[in-house]
């Protein structure tokens, strides 16, 4: 760490708070945080915000936009706006949980194997590379077809299985570089155990990377969930943006002229993913001062 590094205090919460503050100081990231915040709030308060229940199919079929149904109804007679609002739950949930789980796996594997040397490290390096190279979506499709019918849990699992490798690789190489830092050697001299060195000395120094890899994994998870649901490989009975697109495509929303059915969920997915990418601009700045925005040439 450079002398000018303002890393905050030792308390991990404070470290996170610092990270947040740094992210917040980047205008693009601030927009991202605000957007994400809106989505999260919508997801949490969906029952309060949605005019109807998401699965209530007692309305007219394929109705156009009206005062009662701002975005119209689906071919099954459900309110599109309500579905959209409830759908936020799944995407936010999948993004959060799958992002979190794959980040945890990435952290555990990346850190422990980055710290260890020798044969075991080579093996895991190989496995990580394998997972990096095998195209994720085809693998997901094959696994999803195998695991069948597990609903959101299955999708999360599939996304996690295929999504941890990238983060692990980044964290592994960062660990390897931190491992040779003097303060790590110093910790050995202080009699620290390897696990404590990894988790108390090295890990906190990678907060920004971990946060970044969390948002990256979340974005990937949200897009992957939508893709799998769209292909009909998820549980079509859940209400999510992906299944909305699936049903819209299935019932030919374009044919009935209800392009909103396709447009709205897709836009929501894009905006949610965009919010994460925008936040990542701030995270970049966190780890690399050169990337801080605004410095013109």
């Amino acid at each position: 760490m450079s002398p000018g590094d303002h890393a905050g205090t030792a308390n991990p919460l404070r470290v996170l708070w610092r990270a947040f503050a740094t992210i917040w100081s980047v205008p693009k990231a601030r927009i991202g945080v605000a957007m994400l915040g809106v989505f999260v709030l919508v997801a949490i308060f969906a029952p309060l915000l949605a005019p109807y229940a998401a699965t209530d199919n007692s309305f007219g079929r394929s109705e156009d936009m009206s005062a009662a149904h701002w975005l119209g109804t689906t071919a099954a007679g459900q309110d599109v706006l309500s579905q959209l609002i409830y759908g936020a739950r799944v995407s936010v949930f999948v993004g959060f949980v799958a992002g979190l789980l794959s980040t945890i796996i990435a952290v555990l594997i990346g850190l422990s194997w980055g710290y260890l040397r020798g044969f075991a490290g080579e093996v895991i390096n190989f496995i990580v590379n394998l997972f990096l190279v095998i195209p994720a979506l085809p693998l997901m499709i094959v696994i999803a077809a195998y695991l069948q019918n597990g609903g959101i849990g299955m999708i999360v699992l599939v996304v996690v299985i295929t999504g941890w490798a990238w983060g692990a690789r980044v964290l592994r190489s960062q660990t390897q570089s931190l491992r040779s830092r003097d303060f790590v050697t110093a910790a050995i001299f202080s009699g620290e155990s390897p696990s404590r060195i990894v988790f108390r000395e090295i890990l906190p120094n990678m907060t920004s990377l971990i946060v970044g890899s969390f948002f990256g994994a979340s974005t990937a998870a949200i897009l992957a969930e939508a893709g799998l649901e769209f292909l009909g490989l998820g549980d079509s009975t859940t209400v999510s943006w992906g299944t909305m697109l699936f049903w819209a495509q299935n019932s030919n929303a374009l044919l009935t002229g209800q392009w909103v059915l396709l447009f709205a969920p897709g836009l929501c997915i894009s905006l949610l993913a965009t919010s994460m990418s925008l936040i990542n601009f701030g995270v970049d700045g966190l780890s690399n001062p050169r990337l801080r925005e605004g410095a013109k040439r």
Partner: protein
């Protein structure tokens, strides 16, 4: 008319989301054609910033906020990038501080030259190969380097290449920003010689930026001293040597000494005569402290104040002095290169020595001579390829992971870079508590008491206040003290200090050295002091070992070896040391 005329120059850094930093404040000076001027000052005093401004390289977040820089009568501070570019040929050039990284790793050296020739069109296509060869010849490199990539060159060669590249612009003003910092002492010396020769033969105006007053005085005619963005002194080298005006200059100057002298004296440290063992007197607090106005804790530390805490607060380690010796017998370490097909490196070659209990021994040698490797071998971080190392009943060469902890209770390390050796996220208290919890039975309140005691030992008072700080809230010298305190936490018998002051400003060095020295005295630990700086070796050790390419070429009592070197390598090391007194006087 002067070649360069700087008037009332202000340069500020305006980083995003932070307060602006005035890095250069109201600086004015003139440079004449053919001048060789030194620019000295401690880290962060604004030397590079000024250098960049002089060569029209200031770019955001830096901004010339006021004043003018007239080059040949034209103000370059207000030039557009395109106008500046024209000026680069036959105008001003700069050799960057980190010249090691100034070459594009994916372009060959030849391409670098050709790019410049093409950009300015001053060398025709036909002549450019010959010109490139001529230029590298000027910096004493063979023509074959043109085919190489920077990754294939040593640091010294890279630095020479970047000098040759700057030279290819046929500049009238050349700014050398610390051209030798990252280099080995011997190479440093050689590169400086090259620069001096070039300046004489090519007759360009040169500005040499350095934090090493000794070196600057040795090679330049005129010296400007910067402190906190201000030029505090601007005089001929001889004048500065003879009658330094500013207290800061005086302080810098006072830290020079010749390790070969009969008696070596540096403020804050005990004077060193023939045999150190007889000089047990500890420098007293308040011994010639330097006061500089406008100083802050972070930039300049009172040199000797906390060096030795009053004996009343720190218990002398009566009866706890080091008992065991470290015995190194015929140790070699060969590093297999990770990529096959490359020669293995023999980092340590058949080295034997004994570090007696309570002794202080210096291990000196040029970069890559194997000093750090020996430290790693002794501390069990690496295993020797052959030979044995023992510490009491511990066989360090074959030590098990579980026994490492036992070894580290007794043998501790002080790291070279205090900025890297402290985890930026942990408070001083946490950093010091960990070894206490790991190595002793002290817990809770007792552990904390021990932490405070350690802080007091290394002179970080008020202790409560320092305990709560994070590394970035400490100055370099204070950080190094924390590192030392951590090494002491386990109550070790042996301390290995691997270049403990090489990363510190001159003004901070003496304090840390004094502390180490006094600790050795009060606590009775043995110390292995690793350095390439012979002066400091002379100041804090009794015995010395000179390493060359992994092998010991000379050893003996420090004063003897330095005053009367036998091996040619030792002689060269000694010669490479700048001698401002000698050189400066000769020049004037």
């Amino acid at each position: 008319m002067s070649l360069v005329s700087v008037q009332g120059l202000f340069v500020v850094y305006e980083p995003q989301g932070a307060l602006p930093v005035p890095a250069v404040r109201n600086v004015s000076f003139d440079l004449e054609q053919g001048d060789f001027v030194g620019l000295v000052g401690e880290s962060g005093s604004g030397k590079s910033t000024l250098g960049f401004a002089l060569t029209g390289l200031s770019k955001p977040p830096a901004r010339v906020s006021a004043g003018s820089i007239l080059f040949d009568g034209v103000d370059i501070a207000g030039m557009t990038p395109a106008q500046l570019r024209v000026q680069r040929h036959g105008g001003f050039a700069m050799v960057l501080q980190s010249g090691m990284n100034a070459l594009n790793p994916v372009r060959s050296i030849r391409d670098h030259f050709f790019d410049i020739f093409t950009a300015h069109g001053h060398v025709s296509k036909r002549d450019r190969e010959a010109r490139a060869i001529e230029l590298v010849g000027k910096v004493e490199l063979p023509a074959s380097v043109l085919d190489r990539f920077s990754g294939e060159l040593s640091g010294g060669m890279r630095q020479r290449v970047s000098i040759a590249l700057a030279l290819s612009l046929e500049p009238r003003l050349m700014v050398f920003d610390e051209p030798t910092t990252a280099l080995d002492v011997l190479v440093q010396h050689a590169v400086m010689d090259t620069i001096r020769e070039l300046q004489k033969s090519e007759k360009f105006t040169a500005v040499l930026i350095s934090h090493d007053l000794g070196m600057v005085l040795e090679v330049t005619e005129r010296v400007m001293v910067m402190h906190d963005g201000l030029v505090v002194e601007d005089a001929l080298a001889a004048e500065i040597l003879a009658a330094p005006q500013h207290p800061y200059t005086r302080m810098l100057l006072s830290h020079y000494g010749d390790p070969r002298a009969a008696v070596v004296e540096v403020p804050g440290l005990a004077a060193r005569g023939g045999d150190r063992a007889t000089d047990v007197a500890v420098a007293a607090a308040g011994n010639a402290p330097v006061t500089v106005t406008g100083d802050t804790l972070d930039t300049l530390e009172p040199v000797a104040a906390p060096a030795a805490p009053p004996a009343s607060t720190v218990r002398r380690r009566e009866g706890r002095a080091a008992r065991e010796a470290i015995v190194v017998t015929n140790v070699s370490k060969i590093y297999q290169r990770p990529s096959r097909g490359e020669e293995p490196v023999c980092a340590v070659n058949n080295v034997s020595f004994t570090l007696e209990p309570g002794a202080s021994m210096a291990l000196v040698g040029a970069s890559g001579s194997g000093k750090s490797t020996i430290a790693k071998l002794i501390t069990g971080v690496e295993r020797p390829t052959s030979g044995s190392i023992t510490f009491g009943d511990l066989q360090i060469d074959t030590i098990k992971r579980r026994q490492l902890k036992r070894l580290h209770t007794e043998v501790q390390m002080v790291f070279q870079d205090p900025y890297a050796a402290l985890n930026p996220l942990h408070t001083v208290e946490y950093i010091l508590t960990r070894p206490i919890l790991n190595f002793s039975r002290l817990r809770g309140r007792d552990a904390r008491a021990r932490v405070l005691e350690l802080l007091e030992t290394v002179g970080l008072t008020p202790v409560e206040q320092f305990a709560a700080r994070l590394p970035h809230q400490l100055s370099g010298g204070q950080r190094q003290r924390v590192v030392i305190a951590r090494a002491l936490a386990s109550d070790p018998q042996v301390i290995i200090a691997d270049e403990p002051v090489s990363m510190l400003d001159v003004s901070l060095r003496a304090g840390v050295l004094a502390l180490l020295d006094s600790l050795r005295e009060t606590w009775g630990v043995s110390m292995l002091y690793i350095t390439h700086d012979l002066l400091s070796a002379r100041l804090v050790t009794d015995q010395i070992m000179v390493l060359n390419s992994g092998a010991v070429v000379e050893e003996g009592r420090t004063a003897d070896v330095l005053q009367n070197p036998q091996d040619e390598y030792t002689i060269r090391l000694l010669e490479a040391i700048p001698h401002p007194t000698v050189g400066g006087l000769v020049q004037s």
